[in-house]
Symmetry: C2
Subunit: 789 residues, 2 copies
């Protein structure tokens, strides 16, 4: 159905979980009995407990697609911690338990780091091999990739390390010919065949086993970290399928990267490993601390940048990031980077994806082109977000969304068809970036280094030289590659395969940067006496490094798309290891952010969150309107009064017949003085349980929330005391509280709902969804686009 399609990006495909959409909607809509039972099943066989003594299984848990209550979760954890600390004074076993509990967080981090590092290593190696398989096979053993195959060969010189007899292209393998138009077409066809094969496998696997495995996963992880529940999004099936399909998708040559999905993979690892420790298994807030750290691990292994990873998690992904999590993230990120280094997937014992070393410092004049790149990055970022969101919306609302497999195959075929003839699009995204970042030395045989040799008399192998025909060809090809990448990335991101955005964005920026860099270099070479270059760029000197421009461009474009700043600069700085280039990078990313923000303040991830209607309260944006709590709360002026429970006098039957998912409890309906707050889910579970275990609980039994049992007529059935499931400290604000303060409270404390009072009397309720709807309304957007609670 149409409503179902809007529900969740991934489910719109398979509609496996579509039933959920209509069932779950929050405090003001009816909650559903079956999902409640399903929620209870997870806790194993129910024990025979006194309902007043011990929390019932199911009480205090959440339904799928619901928001958690951070305050309650953290309070629960502190209670648990307090209990363990108190017990630890009594016996040695309890003391040991307390110590092991204290260190379980660090142990978990170690395991997350090890597992994610190992998985990332595996993904890197397989993706490398499979990307090469599109071109040919190694005769020495099909499991060697091109580079490895030729390294083992003694016959090749350093110059020709790309070509060795052991590595045969498909044309050579099938027809025995390696040259000529027929071989070219043969290779071309095989390239397209493998691209289709890999992408078909990827999309089929995702469809069949784990619909959540598609996309980059970062928007959903942001939402989950902000306190939302999506069951199975970080489960073992998602992990397995995402790992496999990520390799397939990357190898298929589609314009996507593996960096974003690696964050998802690391979070899956963390979530699965959380099940080993009670502390994290049972507490949604504690688990989110681990997931924040896992996001850092993901970036750490993606780029080999542990500090950048931690800052990425802090700046971009996390919602609640206490200092403890900072330390643990850093530890986990280091462990992961270390594990990855031990696996050594790039075969050069470098931790980082793009290791570059530049030899020339930059000059202040160069800030102008760097800022130009920043403007380009910002413009492209804003344009990309608009175009991609429009395309994704089209996919959701038209029949295009019904044929995801065909969509992927068509895009893969198109990509392969257009990419093969151009050597810069044929190579994988990370190879391309690596080549663009590289500084040309005299020995370099790459086309990008096709300069004319001039004898300047000065023995400087890195001096600026005039461009030769090879370089001109390369520039043309790069310009074509730029247009191609810009187009194809827009339609690729959001398809039903795992797809990251980092590499394609960086590739676009790197191409633009390199083009500008070579332009500047030639300008400097031919005009070294002009005003601009005089004084710092004499003839025969190496003053412009086009590789640096590529790096700055890559940072600018990635910054424009994701709106990262500090973390991006740190990642870039860890990639190159040079503190010297922080200023150019910073100038470009800040410009890029400012320019992109002028067109719309959302980054790509926030835009996708909004597209999917997740309840995400953006922590970066200030609430700018002057509304008061009374304008946002329910009930509205004309609505019937707020549904409340009284602390005594209501019967079980009356309580059961209600249909909101949470109720304030008041002293009496006349005074409207607030006592507490109770969730319908907890109420129903408790009543259900009481009916089974407690004698005499019938529909006419009184439900009592007071401390003392009220005096009842002698013939009345025994009362049901439910004070224990009531939240005695509900959050309240007054009706005059400005909404900016209320939003701040919701954000900082992670509330789910808040009650509104006037002069001490209960007036209404504000839920997170109400706030998001109000914000949507204020921004002239459809308030019904917020789907979940």
């Amino acid at each position: 159905s149409a409503q179902c399609d809007r529900c969740l990006n991934v489910t719109s495909l398979l509609c496996l979980k579509c039933t959920f959409c209509s069932l779950l909607s929050g405090v003001y809509e009816e909650s559903n009995g079956t999902s409640r039972t399903a929620g209870m099943n997870g806790n194993g066989p129910s024990r025979l407990v006194d309902p007043l003594e011990d929390p019932l299984p199911g009480v205090g848990t959440y339904e799928d697609f619901n928001t958690i209550d951070w305050v309650r979760e953290k309070s629960k954890d502190r209670d648990r911690h307090r209990e363990i600390t108190n017990k630890s004074r009594q016996s040695t076993v309890a003391l040991l338990h307390s110590i092991s509990d204290a260190f379980s967080g660090w142990l978990l981090m170690l395991l997350v780091g090890l597992m994610s590092g190992a998985l990332a290593g595996g993904i890197d190696i397989s993706a490398h091999w499979m990307t090469d398989v599109k071109g040919g096979l190694c005769l020495r053993g099909f499991w060697f990739n091109h580079e490895h195959c030729c390294w083992l060969s003694n016959e090749t010189t350093f110059q020709e390390r790309d070509r060795c007899p052991q590595w045969q292209s498909w044309a050579e393998l099938i027809t025995g010919k390696s040259e000529g138009p027929f071989a070219y077409i043969m290779n071309y066809l095989m390239y397209i065949f493998w691209a289709l094969m890999f992408s078909f496998l990827a999309v089929i696997l995702v469809r069949a086993f784990a619909p959540y495995a598609c996309g980059s996963g970062i928007p959903e992880i942001k939402t989950i970290l902000s306190g939302f529940i999506i069951r199975g999004y970080l489960g073992k099936w998602t992990l397995i399928i995402k790992t496999i399909t990520l390799v397939l998708a990357v190898s298929s040559g589609l314009s996507l990267g593996k960096e974003g999905p690696l964050v998802h993979v690391a979070c899956c690892c963390a979530n699965i490993l959380c099940h080993l420790f009670t502390k994290y298994r049972k507490n949604e807030a504690k688990r989110r601390e681990v997931l924040s750290a896992a996001a850092a691990v993901g970036v750490s292994v993606a780029f080999g940048a542990p500090i950048g990873g931690v800052l990425f998690s802090l700046e971009e992904v996390s919602y609640y990031f206490p200092l403890k999590t900072l330390w643990r993230s850093f530890f986990a990120a280091l462990v992961a980077a270390f594990t990855l280094r031990s696996i050594n997937p790039f075969g050069n014992s470098r931790l980082v994806l793009f290791y570059v070393e530049f030899h020339t410092p930059w000059h202040l004049v160069e800030l102008a082109p760097f800022i130009l790149l920043g403007i380009f990055g910002g413009l492209w970022g804003a344009l990309f977000i608009k175009a991609n969101i429009a395309w994704c919306r089209l996919r959701k609302t038209t029949c295009l969304g019904h044929y995801p497999v065909i969509e992927v195959l068509v895009v893969a075929a198109l990509t392969a068809l257009l990419a093969y003839p151009n050597s810069y699009t044929r190579m994988s995204g990370s190879e391309l970036i690596s080549e663009l970042f590289n500084d040309c030395s005299l020995l370099d045989s790459s086309q990008l280094c096709g300069y004319k040799q001039v004898n300047t008399g000065v023995d400087n192998s890195l001096a600026d030289r005039p461009a030769g025909p090879g370089l001109y060809t390369a520039l043309w090809q790069l310009a074509l590659a730029l247009v191609f990448k810009m187009m194809i990335t827009v339609i690729t991101f959001g398809m039903k395969v795992p797809s990251g955005l980092f590499i394609p964005s960086m590739a676009v920026g790197a191409i633009a940067g390199r083009l500008l860099g070579v332009g500047m270099e030639q300008l400097a070479y031919y005009n070294h006496d002009s005003v601009i270059f005089k004084g710092w760029c004499s003839q025969g000197a190496d003053c412009i490094t086009p590789g640096l421009y590529a790096m700055v461009g890559a940072a600018a474009c990635l910054g424009g798309v994701t709106r990262m700043t500090v973390s991006l600069v740190v990642i870039m700085f860890e990639l190159t290891g040079g503190l010297e280039y922080i200023v150019p990078l910073m100038a470009a990313t800040m410009t890029s952010k400012w320019v992109a923000d002028a067109f719309g303040r959302e980054g790509i991830y926030e835009a996708h969150i909004r597209l999917n209607g997740y309840p995400f309260l953006e922590p970066k944006e200030e609430f700018e309107h002057s509304s008061l709590a009374v304008d946002v709360m329910r009930p509205r002026r004309m609505d019937p009064a707020l549904a409340v429970l009284t602390q005594e006098g209501m019967t079980v039957g009356e309580v059961e017949s209600t249909h909101f998912s949470g109720f304030p409890v008041v002293v009496s309906s006349e005074s409207q003085r607030l006592v507490g707050f109770v969730l319908r889910r907890d109420l129903l579970i408790s009543i259900d349980n009481a009916r089974k275990r407690q004698d005499g609980i019938v529909s006419a039994s009184q439900v009592v929330f007071t401390e003392h049992t009220p005096l009842l007529p002698p013939d009345a059935p025994p009362p049901l005391r439910l004070r224990c499931i009531m939240d005695l400290s509900p959050f309240t604000v007054t009706d005059h509280t400005p909404m900016d303060i209320t939003v701040d409270i919701f954000r900082k404390l992670g509330l789910r709902q808040c009650l509104v009072t006037h002069n001490g009397r209960l007036l209404g309720i504000i839920t997170k969804k109400d706030i998001l709807k109000h914000m949507a309304q204020m921004a002239n957007r459809d308030p019904d686009s917020i789907l979940f609670n």
Copy 2:
């Protein structure tokens, strides 16, 4: 008086502001009329305004030594922003104003960066010169320092660059002799003379002009950033005097560093520059955002580590650190680092204080000594904190505190006397660390590189060699220096001169590390066939880098004292520029933190905050007890009921005769239903103003907080309407709210007070001071040690 001495570390000296101590104490103690008037004077000539239309000058400001209300401040700023945005649609001037307002934050950051960088450069250059003046003078011009003096000389070779005829020691200058025991004694005496001179000047200047300029300033800045007001702590006099005395103190040879005080200097710059922008001048919360960034700038210029500075501010100093501040801090830190580099105080165009380059990777086995260094650092950190706090307490409680000048002179004399004979203590702290970090090459003439030359046949200039007699002497001297530094730092930190802790702590760690490193090197050299070293450390190889051990030791000791982790590792990593050594550094700092935490969870700054009784709610520590809000709130069970105002019916006279500094306003004293909260300061200012400007306001006039004017008898004086100064959205919690949640709310929202209700009726109030007192009580500390509100 004794109470006055406890009041504030710095004021205990001069007791200039001692009158404040007894006057200011918060919601439950009497506030004072004179300080109120003083507060009003700051706002210039009072305007003739309608008291109901426009906020009065003085309403909404704070008294000295009081806690700010973050929520109110941030709300005020959002109102201001909203107004500017609304106006910007009306005219071009307003639009320009709106744009300049949006960019004023960035401009301010730029200015802070430039000013702090310039000041830091000046401090570096002057301190360098004055440190050298203790030894002699340059004949070429007295303004040259030793290094610079000899650089200009053509007569010296590279080997003898320390000695040149132009640089003459005092003995040479006075007696003409440069050798012999007499010259030695002459130089010794001059060294002591200058040390006494400099330290005397430093302490006298601090006493006379700016008592707040003493110490490192970080504890106070932490407190200020958490929302406390100390007027003048970041003022222009403090800046001027701190800058001058910092140079004097560092040059006097005392065991102190300039890194902590540079944070204070940067914060002073930021505070002063804030006055240029209305947005920041008038808003305490916004100003604290700038100060957070300034803390980052301070560390950035101290170590040349911009990223480390930002993380230091985030991890160690700041309280409220939104992402916006992160970006701005980073920007300001970069600008400052760049400015410093342009000034080039070290004369080597390096940004960083200790630039080192190691050539050998570390081996996994070496983790054992690194962890050992971590344990040493942790133990030393814990011991240092205990000893230093005990010494500072002694200074406060005994007559020692009455003679700060003599104390400084005695310590300076003692330091100079003991330090001169040992060349490692004679040199400045940063030179020592620099030398210890340094890797020995064959050319190195330093005593630390006094290895025996062996011919291993392998041409490796860095190979491990056996220690020679020079090295053994150096080791002995280092061991003595270690003991000396450990002792003298304890009594130096906390004296009435500007004193940082970073350099002395690092020096202790670096010495310990170097000793262990040389030990390991010799062990490896003589036992390279043993199980431990076999396989990675063959003869003639360079496997152990003692400089790396010094670096790890420095990080461990600094970590033990300050409990920094991530920021410390990043600073260290920025110092060396090598990603390779993150793991050893991390292992050592984490071990150090764990070991030190086992002895007490407070770092040195928190310990000093507690010693001074500042109201600081530690954001890192969890509240571990199971108290409820009702246990902490005032009034206590036996106390008289809470003083409240009713929304109508009270007269001006009744209101004026109250003596608490804040009042909840209720509907009526019977119902106790809460309407709002009003501060006595605002009340008195408004009444004062109304008496002057409004006709007929007498003591019998009714004070009215309702929206409508109540019906009054015809002969009654006109009522005074004060709804506009009432906070209509006071924070409330129920009496059943666990204190851990309440503490969380206070921390995250930055509250000053919170009202407690029971079933909708007002029951009591909790202030930040109440919480801190409760926490002190729970930890078996004296609750009266919390002095301020």
